[in-house]
Symmetry: C2
Subunit: 301 residues, 2 copies
Amino acid sequence: MPDLSSRQVSQLPPLQAIRVFDAVARHLSFTKAAGELGMTQAAVSYQIKVLEERVGSPLFLRRPRQIVLTEAGQRLAPAVGEAFAILGQAYAAARAGADGLLCVTTVLTFASNWLAHRLGSFQIAHPALAVRLETSSRMTDFAREDVDIAIRSGGGTWPGLEVHKLLDADFTPMLSPKLAASIGGINEPMDLLRLPILDPGDIWWTEWFSAAGVHSHDLARRPGSSMGAQAYEANAAIAGHGVAILTRALFKAELADGRLIQPFDLVGDDGHAYWLVYPEARRNVPKIRAFRDWLLAEIAC
Amino acid sequence: MPDLSSRQVSQLPPLQAIRVFDAVARHLSFTKAAGELGMTQAAVSYQIKVLEERVGSPLFLRRPRQIVLTEAGQRLAPAVGEAFAILGQAYAAARAGADGLLCVTTVLTFASNWLAHRLGSFQIAHPALAVRLETSSRMTDFAREDVDIAIRSGGGTWPGLEVHKLLDADFTPMLSPKLAASIGGINEPMDLLRLPILDPGDIWWTEWFSAAGVHSHDLARRPGSSMGAQAYEANAAIAGHGVAILTRALFKAELADGRLIQPFDLVGDDGHAYWLVYPEARRNVPKIRAFRDWLLAEIAC
DNA sequence: TATAGCCCATAAGGAGGCCTTATGCCTGAC
DNA sequence: GTCAGGCATAAGGCCTCCTTATGGGCTATA
């Protein structure tokens, strides 16, 4: 049972009535105020009556052709107008501000290998929208962080979130042409084992070699650190430090210009993918729609 | 049918939710805000949710032990606080102001012959209450004039108004002792007709002479102006200019000190009286109660 | 002086906003 | 591991607030 003795309650005016009062004081007409507020004249009359009872004295004098403020009304009106001006402005600003800044959190690799190149076109298409891009490996919790949209990898089922698949997170070995040439070219999967394996503990390696029919039980014993992001491993591979297992869609450019080669057509796929996600309840927020629509269109290209 | 396209409606925030937001932003706690507002935590949660949907973005981040404002919330909170401060102050001032000034309108005679002597004791008893006294012969319309209490004479039935009888408006002739002596004293009613009759058209004269068994059909033909207020006629009578027909209760002092004499015990009474009146709906307004209680106590003396 | 028109007041009735109760979930502390 | 603190959610009911309909008072125009 709440404590009804709270003074705050009785000290604040009935807000709906105050809003109506503001409109009436500006128009000096119940009928016109009703028009502005989108309600009937009767409702305005009712609210003014309520407020007059709460204030303890009439706020308007009812003259034949018009109404005028009483002394009490004259004292109240300017302050009410000012308060609503502040409130309206702040509220509008909050809405606009909410519309004007889009916070996206994404896994590093997607940001650097996909988004970075294309984000410019989004900003050109939506000049009023500022984008704040954060990269994080943690899975963001929308209730706990100030984020509008996330791009994450995983199975694609998160309750309460709307999801759109972006890319399949397939995987296949890649390396620099120079490294491949250093052992006379890569002809069969087993050749890879003669080279340094980047992040050998990655489950993807085990699955890919298994699919290729190669025993790779010694992988786990190899030294090497998991760098935790394909982008890092890709850089190492481009630099010729070893073989990385990467998602094709994220390295189209590197494959196209020859910085990386994909020696085998065989790609693994554990069903994971990259997803665009955001809270279901916010699916119709303009900036979120804008980003989603743009991203899905770009992906489809 | 109201015009629902009015922009104003959608541009203003849901006020109840804003009020709750203000409390939550100050406490940074739903539970504490609920305590301040005198409602349950669930209600606060509901209102914040409503507001967040209307603003289009979360206003608070839900952290384990506490909540924090999002960027949008931080933009909104200070302005909302300021607006409510203005509003609360103005509202309190309006209530206080409404309590601090009492407007009384009264018929002239009652003011000058009864109220004027005694008003001082009311103001001493209620030092915080300023009294504005207006005299008017018109019957005041509470909806049209900025008046709290009226004192009027009449039959005592006015719909929508609370009435308290103050004095019977009886009437009997009065004149100055000097004028009476000028014709050797007043021994019977007919003697009065040998003197100038003040306001001879007054219905009271007709009624009184009739009750006294005197034919006075020539009264109407006498010259003389109705001054419209007993106070004026009384002054004329005191100055020896004629005989006036007055209400005893209003001229106790003059009768006591001999400025006027009442030659006959016979008093007329047409059922009219002086009444204290105010709108029924305002019977419990403090300043009105204070004045009513004081006035009725004084009358009873 | 009669009539039309404007504006506010009031009554009756209904929809929905808003609050409460009850419960669940999550997290951090002991 | 259990408990406590704090927010979220579902179900249900009250009561505020709005609408429709009507009336009254005044002004203006004929």
